[in-house]
């Protein structure tokens, strides 16, 4: 018996966003159908994985994640280079954690200097992630935006409280802004409207819907992303932005990843477990529409890359 696959024709399309310069630019988004529904529409760009690099030695990371990077971890520039050269990173996410007032409280100028150096040392597009603490976030991302002027980096993140400052910096220095809202369709849409209202082009906004790791609210993010996508493809222009998900930072702090097998023998090999946990979280987010995944472990990234390859086969 012939089975006819029902084809849904969507009226909306996700905006294609190009990150980086003319030389190293990567384009994401641009799809006019649900994730990997090749039978239904076109998906011109594959999802991208960015390697997370911190501006300071990640003393709180598990040995399992530190091990592949070894000595490189002591110098963020070397670390970023290793990600690109050794592990073929398509993109690097520089996490400026040490600028947080509760951490080393490094100055915005120091962070900007690092951004400048990294940009000159690596030739892949860059995500610049601030420390999160609001006043410092503004200072740091502002200065770093200036340091990366014209490189079309992704600046993470603008939230409801500071979107004006961050958006203004992205506008002045030609970057792409991440609009972060706590797992909610309407809040995501509202922030996109507010940012666009500042005359900022909607084609330079990426949505961070916020996520937890597997077992920590992932399914909540999954359905919110799904709903954002459905509404976007249904024609809602203020939701037709690609997604970015910060996977690594969520996964590697959950109990199920941190407890080693001597404590919980039934949970099995700790290294394998962590890698699988990160990969499983990432692949789930891919299926709900993630366009950029920020991850940590090279082996987990490899697994996800393979999946992306297969999922992109028509």
């Amino acid at each position: 018996m012939e089975i006819e696959i029902p084809i849904k024709k969507w009226s909306g399309k996700i905006r294609a966003v190009t990150i980086g310069t003319e030389k190293n630019g990567i384009t994401i988004g641009g799809e006019d159908t649900l994730p990997f529904h090749h039978f239904e529409g076109s998906i011109p760009n594959k999802p991208i994985i960015a390697f997370e690099v911190q501006d300071i030695y990640p003393s709180d990371w598990l040995d399992v994640v530190k091990e592949p990077y070894g000595e490189y971890l002591k110098n963020p520039i070397e670390w970023a280079k290793a990600a690109v050269v050794k592990y073929n990173a398509d993109m690097v996410c520089l996490n400026l954690l040490s600028t947080h007032p509760d951490r080393e409280n490094r100055s915005a100028d120091e962070a900007a200097e690092l951004v400048k150096n990294i940009i000159s040392e690596i030739d892949v597009p860059l995500i610049i992630k601030g420390p999160g603490s609001s006043e410092k976030q503004n200072q740091v991302l502002n200065k770093c935006g200036e340091a990366g002027a014209g490189k079309r980096c992704i600046i993470a993140s603008a939230v409801e409280d500071n979107y004006k400052t961050i958006t203004a910096a992205c506008q002045a220095y030609g970057h792409i802004v991440v609009a972060e809202t706590p797992i909610d369709v309407n809040l995501a849409k509202q922030l996109n409207i507010l940012i666009s209202d500042m005359n900022f082009p909607p084609g330079r906004i990426i949505i961070d819907p916020l996520t937890g790791g597997l077992g920590y609210g992932l399914e909540y993010t999954y359905s919110v992303m799904e709903r954002i996508r459905l509404q976007a493809l249904g024609g809602d222009a203020m939701l037709q932005m690609p997604f970015i998900c910060f996977v690594g930072q969520e996964v590697w702090r959950v109990k199920e990843v941190k407890v080693d097998e001597s404590v919980e023998p039934l949970w099995g090999d700790m290294k394998k477990r962590g890698i699988c946990w990160e990969a499983a979280t990432a692949i789930t987010l891919l299926l709900s529409g993630a366009d950029i995944l920020v991850m940590r472990h090279p082996e987990a990234i490899n697994i996800v890359r393979k999946s992306v390859g297969r999922l992109m086969e028509k």
Binding site: N138, N142, E146, N162, K164, T165, T167, A168, A169, Q171, A172, Y173, I183, D184, V185, N186, L187, Q190, I193, L194, D197, M198, N199, F200, P201, V224, R227, L230, Q231, G234
Partner: protein
């Protein structure tokens, strides 16, 4: 526009234009027309010329075209006997002036009379613009003041400067009055002037004022992402400035023709002029958001007048009170042993009353205590208190008074060592000993209230004045007015009907977990969570126009009994992601309103009784429907229409529109004791209104039965009115 102003502006424009023309000719003669010309540190050429004409001036010969455009804009100088409106002409003259002025300023660089000289900083570089501009865009800097001319004395110049600095307003200075410039006055007083102090002297000529507009146009280009190309983009740049760059001109001292011409240029940007001299005023709204020219303003009132006329929003970053303040202290109690002073409770007369007034009637920042202060009374004193808050705002509405007033509780509770309970005339305020020892005065309560009102409600509150009366006499004298206002408000709420308005409000706060649910809030049906009524929705929309509460135009009435309107149906269909085509406000049987899950109560049909039951969230036992509240919630919530069941706010039960299409209150055959208790008086009143005075006694509750059979028996015994009604389904 006033003829005097228009004529002066046009005369001034002609003068400035011919000066620019002559100067250009001479400069070309000396240097050749291919001589380079530019402002230092900018990629925007001559920014104002570039923004307004789209022309990139890089050499002297590039100046001909913009200057010609300026010439074509120059209107004829009006004759004595012409009485036409001059607005358009004066505005054109203003644009011509700015183009000519920027050319004059640029030629200075070629001719060796550098505008960057001594205290004068000359045109702004792009790097400074980006750094300062971000503050302007995100509101840390509420706007800029272009001060043209000079105040009468040095002391007044200093005072005015300090007043502007205090409000984080960026101060540009240019031009002079009879040879005296404001920047020179400040320099003589030893005041440091640079971008870090927010005091920027541009130049002593009137033409240097154009650098302030050069700053403004680049804000639009840099942060608004507009690339100049001609008239259309020029218009966008001007509109960007009108809507987002909150600048204004302070005209200090005599206003000559050239200053008028420059001011006309600024008005094109939506920047109004505030003058200290008695020049003619231009009050009607048009190009500017509010007034255009306001005159005869004393120096000490200039900043607040400018804020009012330009609609500036000042951000308060730190509230100057001696105790900590934040949500963490909200629930804190002040015990008797710890008491410094208290108001109200059952001991003294105490009330809080917030009233909206005209912009002219409220002096922002005026906080006064009438009667004894905290140090004037002995420990544990009990004082009477009247907190009178006067609010003014361009968007303030009478209806918002009660909403703002309700926040007094949260705001005062947030101060460490201050306890606030109740509202209106049943409030009870205690101040603890530690707070008193830390230096807290009654006055600080006023300072706190003002700061909070301004920062939490910037969209509707522009000015706040607070008076705290702590003497018996004044409190007694003021109380009747407050009391009648409370009554008036209640009456207005009571009179507000669905028919009397053309707009309802939606609430989609809960869509994150009930994706297709839309609350429709009408004057007679509050949100099902009980937290939002129609006025709240209206205010929330004013405060956050892209937020979860959106206006719904009712549109054509499709069914007045069931409460169906075309506009509401369309809205609900769209916002429910195309799942709910029809909605009725007054029926639980046909297309009832959906629920998220936050309902205070659930109303559901009881087969065999012709009636319904209502159960509240607190009640966890069995109901006559055979299900508990939580069983019911399972299928009422989640954004689905379940005919026969609705989630409601408790106050909806006593609304005249309570399931009015299905028979109303008379249908209720069972409700929890809790609801009966909470609505006691209101239910009795409603029962009387519908001619069923003893209805309350005929409605069963859990003390009568929680099973259907005995309930039917009970209803028959008491002869419940529902029995005589039609079947519900």
């Amino acid at each position: 526009m006033s003829k005097i102003i228009a004529s002066a502006a046009i005369r001034g424009a002609h003068k400035i234009f011919s000066r620019a023309e002559t100067l250009l000719k001479e400069t070309v003669k000396k240097n050749g027309e291919s001589r380079e010309v530019k402002f230092p540190g900018t990629a925007y050429y001559l920014p104002v010329v570039y923004a307004l004409t789209g022309k990139k001036v890089e050499r002297l010969c590039d100046m001909y075209e913009p200057l010609n455009q300026a010439k074509s804009l120059l209107p004829k100088i009006p004759s004595e006997n012409l009485w036409l409106p001059y607005l358009g002409d004066a505005l054109d003259a203003g644009i011509a002036t700015l183009i000519a002025e920027e050319i004059i300023e640029a030629l200075k660089f070629v001719n060796g009379n550098e505008p960057i000289n001594g205290i004068w900083l000359g045109p702004t570089t792009d790097a400074v613009l980006r750094e300062q501009g971000i503050k302007l865009v995100d509101g840390r800097m509420p706007g800029f003041a272009a001060c043209v001319g000079a105040p009468k004395t040095k002391e007044e110049a200093v005072k005015l400067t300090r007043d502007l600095q205090e409000r984080n307003i960026l101060v540009f200075m240019s031009s002079h009055t009879n040879g005296v410039s404001m920047a020179e006055q400040l320099a003589e007083e030893g005041i440091e002037m640079n971008w870090d102090t927010f005091l920027v002297p541009y130049g002593k000529d009137t033409s240097a004022t154009v650098h302030a507009l050069g700053f403004a146009v680049r804000a639009a280009m840099t942060f608004g992402g507009i690339t100049p190309n001609g008239l259309k983009e020029a218009r966008e740049i001007l509109l960007y400035n009108k809507n987002r760059v909150h600048a204004f001109v302070l005209a200090l001292g005599e206003v000559d023709d050239e200053k008028y011409a420059t001011a006309a240029g600024a008005i094109n940007f939506g920047f109004p002029v505030i003058a200290d001299t008695d020049i003619p005023q231009i009050l009607p709204t048009g190009i500017c958001t509010y007034e255009h020219v306001v005159s005869n303003i004393p120096y000490n009132e200039m900043p607040s007048k400018a804020i009012e006329v330009r609609g500036l929003k000042i951000k308060i970053t730190k509230i100057p009170i001696p105790v900590r303040c934040g949500p963490a202290f909200e629930g804190e109690r002040v015990r008797k042993e710890n008491l410094a002073v208290e108001f109200g409770g059952k001991y003294t007369t105490s009330f809080e009353y917030l009233i909206s007034k005209g912009l002219d009637e409220v002096e922002d920042g005026k906080i006064e205590v009438v009667g004894p202060e905290i140090d004037d009374v002995e420990e544990k004193a009990r004082l009477p208190l009247a907190i009178i808050i006067e609010i003014a705002g361009r968007k303030m509405q009478k209806d918002f008074e009660s909403i703002l007033e309700r926040h007094i509780h949260t705001f005062l509770s947030q101060a460490m060592g201050v306890m606030h309970l109740g509202q209106r005339d049943i409030n009870w305020i205690r101040i603890g000993k530690e707070a008193k020892n830390a230096g807290l005065k009654f006055k600080h309560l006023g300072i706190l209230l003002r700061a909070k009102l301004l920062s939490e409600f910037p969209a509707i509150v522009d000015k706040v004045q607070v008076t705290l009366y702590t003497n018996e006499e004044d409190v007694k004298r003021l109380y009747p007015a407050a009391k009648s206002a409370y009554e008036e408000r209640d009456k207005r709420m009571g009179e507000l009907t669905d028919e009397s308005v053309d707009t309802f409000y939606s609430c989609q706060l809960c869509q994150s977990y009930a994706p297709n649910h839309v609350c429709v809030i009408t004057p007679e049906r509050l949100g099902l969570c009980g937290a939002y009524n129609w006025i709240d929705g209206k205010a929330a929309y004013e405060i956050s126009p892209h937020g979860a509460n959106q206006p719904i135009k009712k549109g054509e009435c499709l069914d007045s009994v069931k409460g169906k309107w075309k506009g509401v149906n369309d809205f609900v269909y769209e916002r429910s992601n195309n799942t709910l085509p029809s909605f009725s406000a007054y029926s639980m049987m046909e297309d009832p309103m959906t629920s998220c899950g936050c309902f205070e109560c659930i109303a559901g049909v009881l087969p065999g009784t012709k009636g319904i039951m209502i159960v509240d969230r607190e009640y966890q036992e069995m109901t006559p429907s055979g299900m508990t509240f939580f069983n019911l919630a399972e299928f009422v919530g989640g954004g689905q229409q379940t005919p026969g069941f609705i989630g409601i706010g408790i106050l909806y039960i006593v609304s005249k529109k309570f399931i009015s299409a299905d028979g109303g209150l008379k249908r209720v055959v069972w409700m929890t004791k809790n609801i009966k208790e909470r609505l006691k008086d209101k239910l009795a009143e409603r029962a009387k209104e519908i001619g069923e005075e003893d209805l309350l006694d005929k409605i069963a509750d859990e003390s009568v039965t929680t099973e259907l059979e005995p309930l039917i028996e009970f209803l028959n015994n008491v002869n419940h009115p529902a029995l005589k009604m039609e079947e519900l389904f």
